[in-house]
C-alpha cells in the first residue's frame, strides 16, 4: 500500500502533501504519544485524534511518513507548518478512530507486531 491508497480508503483529504508514493506497511492508532513511542516497529502511519505539534514530532522521531487525523479534525497552522518542514503527509478523514483503523486493516495494513 502507498500513502495515496490510504487517502482513497479513508476518503481522506490531504492537508499537507509529502511523498504520496511512499510505501506503507504498518500503522498505529493512538492519542497517547508515549504509547506510540513505546511500541514502534517500523510503523509508517499514525492515526490520531490528538491535535498538537507533538504529534508531528512523534512521527518524525519514528520515521513515519503519514499522519491521519480522525473524526474530521483539522490541525492548526503550526502543526501543518511543522509537517511540511519534515516532509510528512497530513490527511484528515471524517471516520472515527475505530472505523478508520478497521478500514485500513481490512485493506491489508497490519499493526506490525504479533500482539
Amino acid at each position: 500500500m502507498i500513502v495515496k491508497d490510504i487517502i482513497d480508503i479513508l476518503d481522506g483529504e490531504i492537508i499537507c502533501e509529502g511523498d504520496l508514493n511512499q510505501e506503507i506497511k504498518t500503522a498505529c492508532g493512538s492519542d497517547m504519544m508515549s504509547d506510540v513511542l513505546a511500541f514502534v516497529k517500523d510503523q509508517s502511519v499514525l492515526l490520531t485524534g490528538l491535535m498538537n505539534p507533538q504529534v508531528v514530532r512523534t512521527a518524525e522521531m519514528m520515521d513515519m511518513a503519514c499522519i491521519v487525523f480522525v473524526r474530521g479534525k483539522m490541525p492548526d497552522q503550526s502543526i501543518i507548518d511543522l509537517a511540511e518542514s519534515r516532509d510528512i503527509t497530513l490527511i484528515k478523514t471524517r471516520y472515527r478512530m475505530f472505523t478508520a483503523c478497521g478500514k485500513l486493516y481490512a485493506g491489508g495494513l497490519s499493526g506490525g507486531t504479533a500482539v
Partner: protein, 141 residues
C-alpha cells in the same frame, strides 16, 4: 577517539517546541550517515527525555557527543528531582498533571521507553537541586 559535540538549551516554557533538540540531533546523525536503527533509538530516547524536562523541570540543557561507534547524551535540569527513581522507572507510573496527559504524554512510559532504547542509562538526581540523565546508544555498523 574524535567526537562531534552538540549543545542545546531546552526551554521549559513552550511545550509545543519540546523535541526541537531531538529533531536536530536526528537530522545531524542522518547527515553523518549513521544507521537508521541507531538514529531512531537516539531520537526517541532523547525526545522522551526532552519532554520530561519540559513537563517536570522547567527546561534545562542537553549535551550530545557523537562518536563513530556510540552516542553519549547528557540531559541536565534544575527541576525538583525524582524522589523515587525505581518507582519512576515503572511502566504506567506517572506524576504528570492532567493538562500534560491531554497533550498525549504522561502515560508513565517516558523513563521505561528511554531505558528500552538505550544501551546505558544512569540517573543522578537530588531533591530540590535537579536531575542529570546520562544515556549511551551504541551504533552497530
Amino acid at each position: 577517539m574524535s567526537s562531534i559535540h552538540l549543545h542545546y538549551d531546552v526551554s521549559g516554557e513552550d511545550f509545543t517546541r519540546a523535541g526541537e533538540a531531538s529533531g536536530s540531533v536526528k537530522k545531524r546523525l542522518k547527515a553523518l550517515g549513521y544507521n537508521t536503527d541507531a538514529i531512531r533509538r537516539v531520537a526517541i530516547a532523547m525526545y522522551e527525555a526532552e519532554i520530561n524536562m519540559v513537563i517536570h523541570a522547567d527546561g534545562g540543557f542537553v549535551d550530545v557527543d557523537v562518536y563513530p561507534d556510540h552516542v553519549d547524551i547528557l540531559l541536565s535540569d534544575h527541576g525538583p528531582g525524582i524522589p523515587d527513581v525505581e518507582k519512576a522507572m515503572t511502566e504506567g507510573f506517572s506524576t504528570a498533571p492532567d493538562n500534560v496527559r491531554s497533550l498525549g504524554f504522561g502515560a508513565g512510559m517516558g523513563l521505561p521507553n528511554i531505558k528500552k532504547y538505550t544501551d546505558e542509562m544512569r540517573i543522578e538526581t537530588k531533591i530540590g537541586v535537579g536531575t542529570d540523565l546520562y544515556l549511551t546508544v551504541r551504533v552497530n555498523q
